[in-house]
């Protein structure tokens, strides 16, 4: 305890009395923090944009067409698959999900959105946070993601116009906004939801598809009676329903095209930024310790223990790192206020917290060599008495 008190006393005195030098080191840490937090936030934002709808599904399993490799866009199920799945014992409910994309053109700036067909009240249809769900059938009604409303100013009760390529012609459809859902980005775009029959009418389609009015779902979201039986239910569903493959939400997310590669890239960027940070900070503290060799020699010669000298170095590094991370966090917040909503930055994710924890560790990790060096300094040599 006495060692800790003394070490803290020395560390704080040195930082305060050399605040200019330590502030510069803290600023370097702050810049690294800024970079790492932005990369983390971008990673979280991109991941959200890609997976949010699937991640928030009120379901434990996702059914795909057999041999579609769990890729949503490659899967096109029979229209009665959801009904067959609902009859399997252990299934609480199942909802077909239809995916496509379109563009809202009734805005000063056209807005690209994911067009999702879902069955009201069933898995696949997210809970409405304002307004009401759309009616089933061919109602020209839509429920839109809050992000769409936020970015476009669209409100409940408004009528939006979307453009859809039908064969070789562009056609325009009007949809009345009846409700809002929250946190439902899919494939980097905010979403609008419509009933399956409406979806089939208004989705972009080729000449050959125009002749059919039957919507074919891409996937079926399955909610289980007992979520802990997911593994057993995957096997059961494959046995009972023909031409399907079944997996969990996590695998579905990882198989969204580009998701894993994108996340791997972002994580690699974050990792290398942290690595560079560790090396830079390590270099700073090592140079500082080399400059302090005589001083450490005096401390040891007059009776300070190795442990106290090492602890003082650790505390000093922690103080400077915490200061740097704090400044960096503040700067990140200030900068984030100026970014347009089109840049997918999310700072409230677990990823940001992990990044902060890692950033707080770069000082002690980077300074490890200098701490060991400080502990090993022999007072006799440091004072050039030997």
């Amino acid at each position: 305890m006495k060692n800790f008190t003394l070490a803290t006393y020395l560390a704080i005195k040195e930082v305060v009395r050399n605040r200019g030098r330590f502030f510069l080191v803290a600023l370097v840490i702050a810049l690294i923090t800024l970079l790492v937090l932005f990369i983390a936030a971008l990673g979280e934002g991109l991941a959200n944009g890609n997976r949010q709808y699937v991640a928030n599904l009120d379901a434990q399993l996702v059914v795909f067409l057999e041999k579609s490799d769990y890729i949503i866009s490659s899967s096109r199920l029979e229209t009665n698959t959801a009904r067959s799945i609902r009859r399997v014992e252990g299934v609480d409910d199942a909802g077909a999900v239809y995916t496509s994309s379109t563009e809202i053109v009734s805005l000063p700036e056209p807005l690209k959105v994911s067009l999702l067909g879902a069955e009201p009240g069933r898995p696949g249809m997210p809970p409405v946070v304002a307004g009401r769900e759309f009616r089933s059938g061919e109602a020209r009604e839509t429920v839109i993601d809050q992000q769409v409303a936020f970015r476009s100013g669209i409100q409940i009760g408004d009528v939006i116009e979307i453009r859809s390529t039908q064969g070789v012609d562009d056609e325009f459809f009007e949809l009345k906004v009846v409700g809002l859902v929250s946190g439902q980005s899919y494939f980097f775009q905010p979403t609008i939801f419509v009933p399956p029959s409406t979806w089939e009418k208004i989705r972009p389609q080729s000449d050959s598809e125009l002749s059919s009015d039957t919507p074919f779902p891409n996937i079926v979201a399955v909610r289980l009676t007992d979520p802990s039986q997911a593994d057993m239910m995957m096997t059961r569903l494959v046995e009972r329903v023909p031409n399907i493959e079944v997996t969990d939400i996590e695998t579905t997310i990882n198989n969204i095209p580009g998701y894993s590669a994108q996340q791997g890239t972002v994580q690699a960027q974050g990792f290398f930024t942290l690595l560079i940070g560790i090396l830079v900070i390590g270099g700073f503290f090592q140079i500082q310790i080399l400059q302090k060799v005589p001083q450490i020699g005096v401390l040891k010669a007059i009776g300070s223990s190795n442990g106290m000298v090492g602890l003082s170095a650790v505390i000093q590094i922690i103080i400077v790192t915490a200061l740097g991370v704090g400044i960096g966090g503040g700067l990140t917040y200030l900068f984030s206020l100026g970014f347009p909503p089109t840049i997918p930055l999310v700072f409230n994710g677990a990823r940001s917290l992990i990044a902060v924890a890692l950033l707080l560790s770069i000082g002690p990790v980077g300074g490890m060599v200098s701490i060991i060096y400080a502990v090993r300094i022999e007072p006799l040599k440091a004072l050039r008495l030997g």
Partner: protein, 242 residues
């Protein structure tokens, strides 16, 4: 009869260099009593700094014994040596004496903190000691804001504040002008005598011997002469002046 604060018995320190053995300290024995101020003199390479390093528990001897306040250094592990340095020894060096980011007062108080003895009374004692050394106006100055002589005086205060048994000074006047050097050593001698500590000063400057009670002269690692008579000491120091 005064207490023996430091006793050196048959001390030997040898080094191997290019296959040859060098006796840096060769069978040295002496005692220093509490309240006695001793000068260790001799030409460069005579072994005085090596001897001082052994007395400071910074270097282990090849053979022989060093007893500080009755404790045998040879029987101590590193942890006990650190404790001994902290509690029983006061040290001033040629240069880089002070912790650069602590003020004069904080540098002196650091020894008290280290020994768990910092309290209101010891704080007052620390300030009084610094005032006695002419540093009353410099309590809040950092080492970089003080002259070499002032820094040495702060180091002397730090070496004495925790009432050590032995105070060791390695060339404390090396970087000072003559006037400052005399002031520093005279004050050092007075404090050693007043506080009843055993003091050893290593110096090249024989003029400083006028302030000591005994001179130990070394050559080639051996203790070749001990001067105890005050007149002889003054003559020895005076010879250096002329």
């Amino acid at each position: 009869m005064s207490n023996i604060a430091l006793e050196v018995r048959d001390l030997v320190k040898s080094f191997s260099l290019d296959g040859a053995t060098i006796q840096a300290v060769d069978n040295v024995s002496f005692q220093v009593r509490s309240g006695e101020f001793v000068a260790l003199v001799g030409p460069s390479g005579s072994g005085k700094t090596t001897l001082l390093s052994i007395l400071a528990a910074l270097l282990s001897p090849t053979s022989g014994q060093v007893l500080i306040d009755g404790q045998d250094l040879a029987k101590m592990n590193e942890r006990e040596r650190v404790k001994l340095r902290r509690e029983k020894i006061g040290f001033t060096f040629q240069s880089n004496n002070l912790i650069p980011f602590l003020t004069a007062r904080e540098n002196v108080e650091y020894m008290l903190r280290l020994n768990g003895a910092l309290n209101h009374g010891s704080r007052i004692r620390s300030d009084e000691l610094l005032a006695r050394l002419g540093l009353a106006e410099r309590l809040h100055n950092l080492p970089a804001q003080m002259s070499g002589g002032q820094q040495q005086r702060v180091a002397i205060a730090r070496a004495l504040i925790h009432n050590p048994a032995v105070v060791l000074a390695d060339e404390p006047t090396a970087s000072l002008d003559t006037e400052r050097a005399f002031q520093v050593v005279e004050t050092f001698a007075n404090l050693i005598h007043e506080n009843g500590r055993a003091g050893i000063i290593v110096t090249h400057d024989l003029r400083m011997c006028q302030f000591v009670d005994r001179v130990l002269q070394m050559r080639d690692g051996k203790l070749v002469r001990i001067i105890e008579d005050k007149n002889e000491i003054l003559e020895f120091a005076g010879a250096a002046v002329h």
